[in-house]
């Protein structure tokens, strides 16, 4: 199960003596593959692969899949994005189309590759996105989900724990330049850096974010008009107040002028404007 490493600590494509999980050349898997051990693919996998160890795509192996693993060694064909926590190695016979995301990437001469490479380390945003994706997947034992759970347990403050996912999701969506402008604002040390590529998996819409948003400095950042989603755009004066005014009886002019149940954070938004 242990991956052989060279002196510079990159995983190597050599076969280890142990019997490892492998998909034979005549086998085709369609669906989701996940696991906590090395996997060697001589056959075909379509769908997604999540491993907490090393994935080897052997020369005759074909992957039409989103790959998330600790290490990925490609000697065969991969069509899909590769995300490795540790390292990605494309050997001379590799054929890869897709984006690679890993702190260490090695491409040997002869390898064919089309796509983008990012060596940014995995950060908290990614963990949150992964956790969301994993939840929608029904994968409960994935590493990112566990990491998030640990982090949440470690968070001493209840308020922080509850608000963190929503804030992280907002931060993920920041476009690059705006993200820079906002990182100058005071943020708690656990606040994630904004990662600017699209999240790796479709994220379900955040469940009832308004109800959870604490009234603090972070709320101001989240609600800034520049990053507000179209749904949150500043209300024009001519437009009716959506929730509060509609539910209030219209014969009371005071209440129309100053509705009590403005959505949270809106007051602060006005100040930031």
């Amino acid at each position: 199960m242990a991956t052989t490493k060279t002196r510079n600590n990159l995983p190597t494509p050599e076969a280890s003596a142990e019997v490892v999980a492998h998909i034979g050349a005549g086998t085709r898997v369609v669906g989701r593959v996940s696991g906590q051990e090395d996997l060697r693919v001589h056959g075909t996998i379509e769908g997604s692969v999540r491993l907490q160890q090393t994935l080897f795509v052997e020369p005759e192996g074909v992957l039409l899949a989103e790959v998330i693993a600790r290490d990925v060694v490609v000697s065969g064909t991969v069509v899909g994005n590769i995300h490795a926590e540790s390292a990605v190695v494309l050997t001379a016979s590799a054929r890869v189309v897709g984006d690679i995301r890993s702190p260490r990437v090695s491409v040997e001469p002869g390898a064919a590759f089309r796509g983008a490479i990012s060596m940014e380390p995995v950060d908290a945003d990614e963990v949150a996105a992964e956790a969301t994706a994993a939840r929608s997947y029904g994968v409960t034992r994935s590493a990112p989900a566990r990491a998030l759970a640990e982090r949440q347990v470690a968070a001493p403050n209840n308020e922080v724990r509850r608000s963190a996912p929503a804030r992280q999701q907002q931060a993920v969506r920041l476009p690059p330049r705006r993200a820079q402008a906002f990182t100058a604002a005071p943020q708690p040390p656990t606040a994630p850096r904004a990662w600017t590529t699209p999240a790796p998996a479709p994220r379900p819409s955040p469940p009832a974010p308004r109800a959870f948003q604490p009234v603090d400095e972070d709320t101001i950042i989240v609600q800034h008009p520049a990053i507000r989603s179209s749904e949150d755009r500043p209300r024009r004066r001519s437009e009716p107040l959506p929730v509060a005014a509609a539910s209030e009886p219209s014969d009371d002019p005071k209440k129309l002028a100053r509705p009590r149940t403005l959505p949270r954070g809106k007051h602060k938004v006005e100040r930031v404007d």
Binding site: A21, G24, V33, G35
Partner: protein
């Protein structure tokens, strides 16, 4: 290496098809269609509709089994589902719930 091995920590949710031997130590959910032998090892869990030439179960199978040649339920295995095969072996100690169809 004309076999496929699903290791004990591997979970596959979907479909596996192939022409070679498949050995399952881990978990497979969905559908398995192999023309050769399927072996569900002790600790292996298959929650799937299975079509194979031969199936040998030491672990657990939940789902219907259709074997074109032979189905073997070894001691300590658990099978819940219908079995259709011309030859069926159920060992002493095997746990089985379902219908058997030997094509007779």
């Amino acid at each position: 290496m004309a076999t496929t091995v699903i290791g004990s920590s591997i979970v596959i949710d979907g479909e596996i098809s192939g022409e070679e031997q498949l050995i399952v130590h881990g978990t497979v959910k969905g559908r398995i269609a192999v023309s050769d032998t399927l072996v569900v090892e002790n600790g292996g869990l298959v929650e799937a509709t299975v079509e194979s030439g031969t199936i040998t179960v030491n672990g657990t199978v939940h789902g219907d089994i259709a074997a074109s040649e032979r189905a073997e339920l070894r001691p300590n295995c658990t099978v819940v589902g219908d079995i259709r095969a011309p030859r069926i072996l159920i060992a002493d100690g095997a746990s089985f719930k379902g219908n058997v169809d030997m094509g007779g």
